[in-house]
């Protein structure tokens, strides 16, 4: 991740974030479900997932939501503050898939210092897994630029 936190004034609408590629394995799906305290059987028990009409365990929303946040803080740096995440889920993420997360700055609020980043996560088999936006507050440097 980027360890130098971006300043609000250094970011412009239209800026693209570095893409993030995630190899999805049973270990990731199950490990993240358990780390998020989500013991719903479809996220760790293949048979339960199949009874729900899917071939294998699938990623829970808390994990997808976590990747939305991580993707944006990886870019913004550790002194940024995530203020909100909106996510719409599409096709499930299953073991063996690869999800590529991309994003771009879609809005800036000069009063609050909050930047909105549109995020899309697509897997290589079924396409859109998640789409939405992350609102993140960036530090503003004290010195006002004088023109």
């Amino acid at each position: 991740m980027n360890k130098e936190t971006l300043q609000y004034q250094d970011v412009a609408v239209g800026d693209k974030l570095p893409p993030l590629e995630i190899d999805i394995s049973s270990s990731l799906i199950i490990g993240a479900a358990i780390a998020s305290r989500d013991f719903t059987p479809v996220h760790h028990d293949k048979k339960a997932a199949q009874e729900c009409g899917l071939p294998d365990v699938f990623m829970n929303i808390l994990t997808s939501n976590g990747f939305m946040g991580r993707f944006v803080t990886d870019w913004a740096g550790p002194e940024s503050t995530v203020k909100g995440i909106d996510i719409k889920l599409g096709a499930p993420n299953l073991p063996g898939f690869v999800m590529t997360v991309t994003g771009e700055v879609t809005a800036k609020n000069d009063d609050t210092g909050v930047v909105e980043v549109g995020v899309m996560g697509e897997n290589n088999v079924w396409g859109m897994h998640m789409g939405g936006s992350v609102r993140i507050e960036l530090p503003k440097s004290d010195q006002q630029g004088e023109v």
Binding site: M1, K3, I22, L28, G31, A32, A35, S36, R37, D38, F39, T40, P41, H44, D45, Q50, E51, C52, G53, L54, P55, D56, N60, I61, L62, T63, N65, G66, F67, M68, G69, R70, T73, D74, P78, E79, T81, V82, K83, G84, I85, D86, I87, K88, L89, A91, L94, P95, G96, F97, V125, W126, G127, P139
Partner: protein, 323 residues
Amino acid sequence: MTPEERKAFEDKVHAYVGREVNAPQKGKDDVNKAMIRHWAEVMGDENPAYTDEEYAAKSSKGGIIAPPSMLQIWSMEGYPMAHNPSQDVQRELHNVFDEHGFAGVLGTNTSAEYYRDLRPGDEVHAHTVIDKISEQKATQRGIGYFIETVTNFTDQNDEAVGKIIFRVLKFTPNDSNDATGGDDSDDGMPEAPTRIASPRGHDNKWWWDAVDEGKVLIQRCKSCQTLRHPPRPMCGECQSIEWDSIESTLDGEVFSFTELHYPKFPGYQYPLVCAVISLGEGTRIISNIVGCEPEDVYIGMKVKGKVEQVDEKTMLPQFYPAD
């Protein structure tokens, strides 16, 4: 389900709207470094604000913070969810859906707001209310209903720390998605099918575009005012190629119909009734009759149409018995 059974079921579930799922509950674990580290580890999140105490103390954060996306994690029930989940109002509502064949459950949306960073030692209290239940929808996964809950999170000082709106689909799984054959291939399954896409050419694209907007239009000759459907470039009465359109009220009656049994097409919901409908405006349209059993459809039956999303990619007019 007959229309009467469906109404009784929908009345029963809609009675849950506005009810609290349970009294405000304190999370089993307060915010703590171990759970933060476990989460960051599996997520591959190297943000030092979450795990590097020395860094975090020197940074503007002033110490370790939890990833904001963990907000809901502090209120999770944990292992009992797998075998003996607590019987709260939300579970009770899901059971009503299960009993009526909508056994599938899939989270579709969340919208989270985080009012402040949480730190080790913070308590997280969650209070959840059932906020909305949609009309019946045909989705890619199957027919079902969306349930929306709102959870407000507060801390040890009763101050708001965040809010999450959560939408789930309770649905009847499509047979076509039922891949219980134990396919262990790494590639998963082929994409879930949708209806055959409407062919959109020079002369009819405008008509389908209007359907996407929820409207059924009827082409009208500008010269002699004759209505025509399906769309075509020239008036059959006066050969004018000048035209505009009017919007149909979708009041009509069944002119002819058939029920398709075999072969079943992937992406279509069965039973499947295709009908020629005489619209009140005078033109005819081919569509589906839904909202009643196929054996209840008859020629001359009054119907009322509605443009609906029938799968993930498709908007179509669908006709219901007019009561």
